[in-house]
């Protein structure tokens, strides 16, 4: 049992590391790997507040856009390599998360989601009126790489490894939170905020901390996006579709689970890219008909996400009870 699990882990690590080398003959597949990882970073970042704390933000593009714009502004206005804007974007995102989070995190359920949608749209419209941010036309990064620090490569391989490193760090941090006291409190808040409060958990504070952390990493994903694509405009930075995609990716894989967003990204990003490559040229929007239908089918049969498939297997007879690591509870009745 232990060894087969170890083997599986090893295999995953080998595949993850070797992927861009194996696919080096095909820039498209290589790039697809990088795109999956980038999507997984933002969805995993969303997962901290949306999955673990159960606060379904549908406005996370705000942070993604701040990250992307911070990077491009570093280049356009300060003549620095875009990636140097990333830490500034993260700090700014944390600050915005406090400003937005303090009033909205008090809202329950759908109200919070709707408020985050409104904030997202508000920021999108405002960004398109700012000449400093390039207005609606958007801003471009370095047209041609000046130094390697511009992170502008022809091959997707460097992006792949950078994204892999960031994702690993983020998942490591999430794993640590999961097992820390904060993770315990977040789960309690998600189950029942009232109960958690009555036990003396400062729900507001923990939710806000999760929101801030989530914002910082979403912002980093935005900065990385800018380095790879070299262009940002209000729609691709702050668009509502971007926010919804983060939610959908995490929900599809399994929100509130460490690898849920990654699984979601592994399914959705290739699905989107491949269906567009195969069907998009015909120009009838079949791409999204297929894409939408597959999401509907997964939601219909696995409403808790794909990872719920694995959960059920060890407990065939029982009613979807969460795995209990404590053997003592086995003979309770």
């Amino acid at each position: 049992m232990m060894t087969s699990r170890r083997l599986l882990q090893l295999a995953v690590i080998v595949v993850a590391l070797a992927y861009p080398i194996v696919t080096s003959g095909s820039p498209v597949w290589q790039r697809l790997g990088a795109l999956v990882l980038l999507a997984a970073i933002s969805a995993s970042a969303w997962n901290i507040v949306g999955g673990y704390a159960g606060q379904v933000s549908v406005g996370h593009a705000v942070f993604f856009g701040i990250g992307a714009y911070a990077a491009v502004v570093a280049f356009v206005h300060l003549d620095l390599p875009p990636i140097l804007g990333a830490p500034i974007g993260m700090l700014l995102s944390v600050a915005v998360a406090v400003v937005v989070g303090v009033p909205t995190l008090r809202l329950s359920g759908h109200y919070f989601s709707m408020a985050t949608i409104a904030v997202g749209e508000l920021v999108r419209v405002l960004s398109s009126t700012s000449d400093w941010l390039g207005g609606a036309q958007g801003l471009g990064g370095p047209a041609m790489p000046r130094t390697v620090f511009d992170l502008s490569f022809v091959s997707a391989m460097p992006y792949y490894y950078i994204f892999l490193a960031v994702l690993t760090g983020l998942l490591g941090l999430t794993w640590w939170i999961e097992r820390s006291r904060m993770g315990f409190y977040l789960r309690a808040i998600k189950d029942s905020e009232r109960a958690a409060r009555s036990l003396g958990v400062s729900a507001g504070r923990y939710k806000l901390h999760a929101y801030m952390l989530s914002a910082a990493f979403t912002s980093l994903a935005g900065s990385l996006y800018l380095c790879m694509f070299g262009f940002i405009d209000p729609e691709s930075g702050f668009g509502i579709l971007l926010s919804v995609k983060m939610v959908v990716m995490a929900a599809l894989g399994g929100a509130g689970q460490l690898f849920g967003p990654l699984i979601g990204a592994l399914i959705l990003v290739p699905l989107e890219e491949l269906s567009n490559s195969l069907l998009g040229g015909q120009g009838a929007g079949i791409t999204f008909v297929v894409y939408g239908a597959i999401i509907v089918i997964i939601a219909r049969f696995l409403p808790s996400g794909l990872l719920s498939l694995l959960e059920r297997r060890p407990h065939p007879g029982t009613k979807a009870a969460p795995a209990n690591p404590n053997p003592a509870s086995g003979h309770a009745d």
């Binding site: 009126t129 958007g138 390697v148 490559s277 120009g283």
Partner: protein
């Protein structure tokens, strides 16, 4: 380190170029990639452009006897410079996002092994897509994006056939000054534009040019594209009642403005609509009857019978089942023909040779579908002979009214509307 990445770049480009050349020649087929918004908000325009480019490919591959008399490229049987190699178009959907534009361009270049690219309608997407082509050393012909910065990036593989926003602004300015000289009142001008890339860039250039030319832009109204309602804007216009109004809008808002102006019963003496939505065949069909006398710009006017433009217009109508060429589709077709002409002259599918042929392009106005003064690229890849016509909507059809030398009909003012 700088050196390293640059060298990797050139080596990559050269080896890629070599691979493509052999690949394409072997099959007697020249593959060209086209990236357009085939879904999303601009899908309507994208699909019209796709049909125009398909028509262009048919002209080269199958030919049209009548058109061949004036345009040798259309005599059929493929590209004569490449032993009759046929053009094969590979279309991809940019989904209206810069990211998809870039991903798909990469696929067309590396998987489909296209020898040249054409696209991508929205300026932002043209920007990201052409950056990929530049890195791979593949010629990118842009028939229609107007943002000024596209040709300011020092790119070597980027060629833009269309006039840019400044050309439009100068045409409007000259046109309005002519009206003033003829005794019409043009003391106050309203500039109404949508607030995405297209409207913003065009409107700011118009404002700059007008300021220089001492034309008084008395009010500027920016609004968000895809509005649910435009009544407040129309009421604002009604209150200030400027002598002339210029609209820069996409189709969705163009329809709402036309409807709302009729509802609120307001019309200026001169109503100019900058191309965009007002030239969309769907707009003309639906709103033509309530926008009689609307002035617009277009690179396209059907022209005299027997001209390249007139024949292509007829062929396009046959293909679409009724919709003739308009500003956007004519630019797409023209862009394609420029590229096909260059590949033909290059006599090769090697990207570097196509690039050299594009640089040497010199097409005379009588050979054009679009109403340019010719096609000739400067060092930045901009067509220096690109120009625009001013057209007027008459009985749900645009006719050219300015400049005089190209006009097919007399200008009728004031604006009649409904």
């Amino acid at each position: 380190m700088v050196e390293l990445s640059r060298r990797a770049l050139t080596v990559g480009a050269a080896s890629a170029a070599f691979a493509f050349a052999t690949d394409a020649n072997a099959e007697g087929v020249v593959k060209i990639g086209a990236i357009y918004p085939l879904s999303g908000n601009s899908a309507s325009a994208g699909n019209y452009e796709k049909m125009a480019i398909e028509l262009g490919a048919d002209l080269v591959n199958k030919g049209d006897p009548e058109l061949a008399k004036v345009l040798p490229l259309a005599k059929g049987g493929g590209l004569s410079g490449l032993k009759g190699a046929k053009i094969q178009m590979v279309f991809a959907d940019n989904q209206g996002t810069p990211a998809a534009g870039q991903n798909q361009t990469l696929r067309l270049i590396t998987e489909e092994k296209v020898v040249a690219m054409i696209g991508a309608y929205q300026s932002g997407i043209t920007l990201t897509a052409s950056a990929v082509a530049e890195k791979y050393g593949i010629p990118f012909v842009n028939p229609e994006s107007v943002a000024a910065n596209l040709t300011e990036r020092g790119f070597k593989w980027f060629f833009r056939v269309t006039p840019v926003a400044a050309d439009f602004a100068k045409a409007y300015s000259a046109f309005l000054k002519e009206q003033k000289a003829a005794g019409r009142k043009v003391d106050s001008i309203a500039l109404v534009h949508e607030n995405t890339e297209y409207g913003n860039s065009v409107a700011s250039v118009i404002a700059d040019v007008f300021a220089k030319d001492k034309l008084n832009v008395s009010m500027k109204v920016a609004y968000s594209a895809n509005s649910t309602d435009v009544q407040p804007q129309v009421l604002q216009l009604k209150e200030k009642n400027p002598d002339a109004a210029i609209f820069v809008s996409y189709t969705s808002d163009a329809i709402l403005y036309a409807k709302t102006m009729k509802e609120q019963n307001w019309k200026p003496a001169i109503l100019i609509a900058d191309d965009g939505g007002f030239n969309d065949p769907a707009f003309v069909k639906a709103m033509g009857s309530v926008t009689e006398g609307l002035i617009s710009r277009s690179v396209f006017a059907p022209g005299k019978p027997g001209s390249v433009a007139a024949i292509c217009d007829a062929l396009y109508k046959k293909k679409t089942g009724g919709d003739g060429l308009d500003d956007v589709s004519a630019r797409a077709l023209q862009g394609f023909l420029v590229l096909a002409d260059a590949i033909n002259r290059a006599g090769s599918t090697e990207p570097a040779k196509i690039q050299a042929a594009l640089r040497a392009t010199d097409i005379k106005p009588e050979q054009l579908v679009a109403g340019y003064d010719g096609v000739k690229f400067d060092d930045k890849g901009q067509n220096i002979l690109a120009s625009t016509l001013i057209t007027q909507l008459r009985n749900s059809q645009y006719v050219s009214v300015w400049p005089k030398s190209r006009a097919t009909s007399e200008l009728i003012l004031p604006y009649k509307g409904w």
